[in-house]
Subunit: 305 residues, 2 copies
């Protein structure tokens, strides 16, 4: 899957991933209204609305981008119907040839991480049959529990040719509270980065490892250092756009081959029609606004590289 | 809810929580067979089997215990049907008067943590209606992203009178890799503990805070220190039994009032019938074996206090 990701990035010349984080507030009223008329102001209605919203955005952008990143929290908040919309979104994006990053940020002790890995990336055995419950391509993983919590994901990735991105330095303001704590002269995120680099070495695709890292665009200096620490890792870079990261902040996240990073934008793409810049599209053409926002983002990032 | 937890612990005189982590390997063959005959060797079949297993164990133990802790990974691995079994388990346990700890270990940046909190502990607004998707009582939260990731949970807890347990020092062997890193002379888990103690101060029930912590029974010395750092926090203590923690390791997790800690056992209770000690019950009476295992665990812990 890491080779498919690289191939998709080369084909589209767009190291970007669209974050499918459909908060209800991002959805045009007419999308919500239609779903509520069919299914009521219920969890099912909300799930239908976000699925229709996602589908329109994927249809309008899939030829421009290598990958999507559904944030599972935005589906999970609508309970079982929401998770059904998540599953439909994952399946639909895969049909469209996109690589799907499940932004699940799971992580637990051994057998529990193994269950998450099987459920989201792998397969479960039930009696004599084998099922692939969510079947995404990559998942994000939280490292707080140490290698016990990460290795079960790596085992499944090896078996299934999938991948992970381990949280190293997150894009939010308070990521400093624990991630920046200095230990033996270096911040914690560097120690996590060193571990990720070690895990990655043993998990190589053709050019890059299928064990990658998450480092926020909002921390470009730290990104520069982490790029060196983890040369063979893809860095998934959130925080571009709405969170404040700009194109010029991104240059150091890439390797000299122009690869090794993939930049996420969620709100900036999926709710583009709400920005003054794209207001001319109007809410009814929200997906066209998203397409234009992807084109502009790709141009911004290419300019910075 | 923190007051209900304390009341339940006082009533049962049992500071224990049963971990409902139904791995298929724990289920007697006859439970699986019956479900597969009805629904096939499918995700639906597996979900039905774990639900029937849970129900029998809850029916056999609910009068002895204050709380249960379903580990959502064990349900999520069976996709949507598994999550339906999770939801049924949460609802059923609440009906039985138990406090439900959702062991979800979620944690993300602001709005995403807010979505998890709304989905698992709180409510979501859809048009003019309000829904409570999973509606557990407490949730476990991962602190790696700092206060941005934790405070949205606290906000929902305030609103809904729910609670959280923040991971501080986890029970697994590799928890040392990052949690034990020394910074300014103290391990990271102490700094996380200091933050938890601060968050907890502002979130008091009658005697204890509804912001608690997770500290593994496998680290009794660290537990002693963290007990002092977080005097008003309940400590959720995993790692008793199958993971190696014993009754005598637990004494220092409690305050002098005999409260302030609640000890989890999962496998040791729900798969008790597989232990030599409880083999006399036989697989067909697995729930009776679980009841006896609860009685023995409570006695062991009371002896240590």
């Amino acid at each position: 899957m890491i080779n498919k990701l690289t191939a998709n990035i080369k084909k589209t010349e767009a190291p970007v991933v669209v974050g499918l984080d459909p908060m209800l507030g991002y959805l045009p009223d007419f999308v919500q209204k239609k779903a509520y008329e069919e299914l009521g102001e219920t969890l099912e209605g909300a799930a239908e609305a976000i699925w229709q919203f996602n589908k329109a955005i994927v249809d309008a952008t899939y030829d421009l981008i290598p990958a999507v990143k559904p944030q599972i929290a935005m589906y999970e908040q609508f309970g079982i119907p929401g998770l059904l919309a998540y599953k439909k979104t994952v399946d639909y994006c895969k049909q469209k040839g996109l690589v799907v990053f499940a932004d699940i940020k799971r992580g637990d002790i051994g057998s529990t991480s193994a269950a998450y890995a099987a459920g989201h990336l792998g397969k479960v055995r039930i009696g004599n049959s084998i099922c692939a419950p969510f079947d995404a391509d990559f998942a994000t993983v939280n490292p707080y529990l140490g290698s016990d919590g990460v290795k079960p994901f790596i085992d499944v990735c090896k078996e299934e040719k999938k991948g992970i991105f381990v949280l190293v330095k997150t894009s939010n303001p308070s990521s400093c509270e624990f991630q920046d704590r200095i230990s033996d002269g270096r911040p914690l995120y560097e120690w996590v980065g060193e571990s990720v680099a070690k895990w990655a070495e043993d998990c190589m695709g053709d050019e890059y490892s299928y064990v990658g890292a998450v480092v926020g665009a909002t921390y470009p200096e730290q990104g520069k250092i982490l790029r060196r620490i983890m040369p063979k890792c893809y860095i998934l870079v959130p925080g571009y756009g709405a969170q404040g990261g700009t194109g010029k902040d991104l240059a150091h996240f890439f390797n000299e081959d122009g690869l090794g990073a993939i930049v996420n934008s969620s709100r900036g793409i999926i709710a583009a029609y709400k920005q003054e810049k794209y207001a001319k599209f109007g809410a009814e053409n929200f997906a066209d606004a998203s397409r234009q926002a992807v084109i502009d983002m790709v141009e911004d990032i290419r300019g910075a590289m």
